[in-house]
């Protein structure tokens, strides 16, 4: 064997990775060739130096705090929680009753001011800590907007927030046909397949004929796309527009 060829195979030889025939050929050569034998010895020493040196250097390593922070931030949407009714089984029954009342109150024409459905608001406050004031883990998770438009009315989601037990969606509804000053009591908002997962709906009329809604839902798994459905927006002329306005986002 040529020395050049042998030297290319030396690392594999030293690592014990050569098949028997090749290994024997190398050993044969090393027995007769002083230069290559020295080279093999030197390579073994060098390998130890490099390995030891690199491992020492790695072991002294500190991860920069901004990298850690970035990583922690990127993991947050993947945080998994139990569904609230698993965490609070005792409340599940009570809240089921609240849901029933909610559905009932939504179909009854309860008079109320330009504020939340009072039934739900009160019940909601008892059964979950929804909202930035009460839930220390409340945080906006999605600043990207999702928007949809039909019948001359545009709906734009501009903030999605996640708390321990609730998902909050802030969205704006705007358009020429919209009766922004009307009572929003018949507006229906749902997430996914269940419209009964709405816990609270508040709204504020804004300038330029828009209305800003904030809807709190039962928390959903983060990282998965959900679809919000809005129906029955009041129109200036005639009956409510049934829509639906559908918009998807990833909490």
């Amino acid at each position: 064997m040529q020395c050049e060829q042998v030297q290319l195979e030396l690392q594999a030889y030293l690592d014990g990775r050569l098949p028997p025939a090749e290994r024997a050929a190398i050993e044969n050569h090393l027995a007769q060739c002083h230069t290559c034998a020295e080279e093999a010895s030197a390579m073994r020493d060098l390998g130890r130096i490099i390995s030891g040196g690199l491992n020492d250097w790695v072991n002294q390593g500190v991860c920069p705090p901004d990298v850690i922070a970035r990583i922690e931030e990127s993991l947050r949407p993947a945080r998994r929680r139990q569904a609230w009714w698993q965490t609070w089984p005792a409340m599940a029954g009570a809240t089921a009753a609240a849901v029933f009342l909610l559905v009932l109150s939504a179909s009854l024409d309860l008079p109320h001011g330009a504020a939340s459905l009072p039934f739900v608001g009160g019940l909601a406050a008892q059964f979950f800590s929804g909202g930035p004031d009460e839930d220390p883990e409340w945080e906006p998770v999605n600043q990207a907007t999702a928007t949809t438009e039909r019948d001359g009315i545009r709906l734009t989601v501009d903030q999605v927030s996640m708390g321990r037990e609730a998902l909050g969606v802030r969205f704006t509804v705007q358009g020429e046909p919209l009766d922004a000053a009307a009572d929003m009591k018949r507006v229906s908002v749902g997430l996914g397949l269940m419209t009964a997962n709405l816990r609270e709906l508040t709204y504020v009329p804004g300038p330029n004929g828009q209305v800003q809604f904030t809807a709190f839902f039962t928390r959903v798994p983060a990282g998965e796309s959900v679809q919000m459905t809005v129906r029955n927006l009041p129109m200036r002329s005639g009956p409510d527009a049934p829509g639906p306005w559908l918009v998807s986002f990833i909490p």
Partner: protein
């Protein structure tokens, strides 16, 4: 009771420094190291509940995922490497026994290598990967791994000898 996130980070944070420098060594710069570490950490977090062997198994498992993230980046980067050109290896001079170089000196020497040499050196001597596995990971022929390693070790030997000469001269 701690959450999944808390349990994961309890194991992860003691390793973070080592993981960061491992990625840095493989990829050659800190910015890429941060990206690879982030990618690997997300993957590990998602798979965390399937890890068997608990805390003891975590470091090696995490490191494996990190190396995969790094070699994935290298595979993309190295795809356009031109024809191998023989490096100019200056004549080696015989010197007496050297003091053991410091970790930082070894890193300084490795860091100076061209990417294709640095990658095989780090994967072999820091990550203890076998040459066949390096070939697979980088999607290059085994023969190329062997010749690059051979060249890299020659370059490193010269570089470390130079460094040693400087140290002795400075006294």
């Amino acid at each position: 009771m701690s959450t999944l996130e808390e349990r994961f980070f309890a194991l992860y944070k003691p390793e973070a420094g080592r993981l960061y420098r491992t990625a840095w060594a493989i990829l050659g710069n800190e910015a890429d190291a941060g990206d690879a570490l982030q990618d690997a950490t997300i993957r590990a977090y998602r798979a965390f509940e399937q890890l068997k062997g608990g805390a003891a198994a975590f470091p090696a498992w995490m490191r494996r995922i990190l190396v995969n993230s790094c070699t994935q980046i290298l595979r993309k980067r190295m795809r356009v490497i031109p024809v191998e050109r023989p490096e100019d290896l200056s004549e080696e001079k015989a010197t007496p026994e050297a003091d053991m170089p410091l970790g930082s000196e070894v890193w300084e020497a490795v860091k100076e290598l061209d990417e294709r040499y640095r990658a095989v050196v780090v994967l072999r001597f820091l990550n203890d990967m076998q040459l066949e596995d390096i070939a697979t990971a980088l999607d290059i022929p085994l023969g190329t791994v062997k010749s690059r390693l051979h060249t890299a070790l020659k370059l490193l030997r010269n570089r470390l000898r130079e460094g040693d000469g400087e140290r002795r001269g400075a006294v």
